[in-house]
Symmetry: C2
Subunit: 120 residues, 2 copies
């Protein structure tokens, strides 16, 4: 079996309210996470919700990173979707842990686009 | 237990090459999927990769939709992440199936940001 993409679904709990609610800071942290992973930002889009909450999406050459935050719960949902051998999503994740400082983290990896000799 | 978000991870196989490689059409289809789900587009960003492949991301008030395509495999990875009761992600998915016409679809739902009385 081969798969086209790797998708890390990450939950951060216990993060600081003001950091999760600061779109400008989150854009910077996600951009540096992309660089840490060994790839480049193709495009970035973000939004701050009312009364709180942020989303930042970065398109990279090897797919995308997304962070969605609920500052009132200290919670962030992070998706790191990569393909190809040139990108190291674990390094992006390590960078995010170092900078968002969750007190609890859960990580799940889903292999996306699985083909076998029977369905490819 | 309560969860903050619903995340549908969807795989489409057997889609038409030219449709999966057409960013303009994909932007239109995703926009209409968002409307079908009962919500609105906050922002949209997209990119066409060389030699083929597309990604379209839409930020909605209730989080985001992403489609990443590998036209050469007839494959698209779709993520529909919603929160709140006002949005119906199944309707977005139905719209995408009707318009991208996969010959095979797999769907997984992950509850994101789960809290119990012990961790909230």
């Amino acid at each position: 079996m081969k798969n086209l993409g790797r998708h890390l679904l990450v939950e951060f709990y216990g993060c600081d309210f003001s950091l999760l609610d600061n779109v400008t800071k989150l854009r910077g942290i996600l951009t540096h996470a992309v660089i840490a992973a060994g790839t480049e930002v193709v495009d970035i889009v973000s939004h701050h919700f009312s009364p709180q909450g942020s989303v930042v999406v970065i398109i990279i050459e090897e797919s995308h990173l997304v962070i969605s935050t609920w500052p009132e719960h200290g919670y962030a949902a992070i998706d790191i979707f990569t393909c190809g051998e040139g990108t190291n999503p674990e390094k992006a994740l390590d960078f995010l842990i170092d900078n968002l400082k969750p007190t609890k983290t859960t990580i799940m990896e889903i292999r996306r686009g699985i083909f076998t000799s029977k369905n490819s």
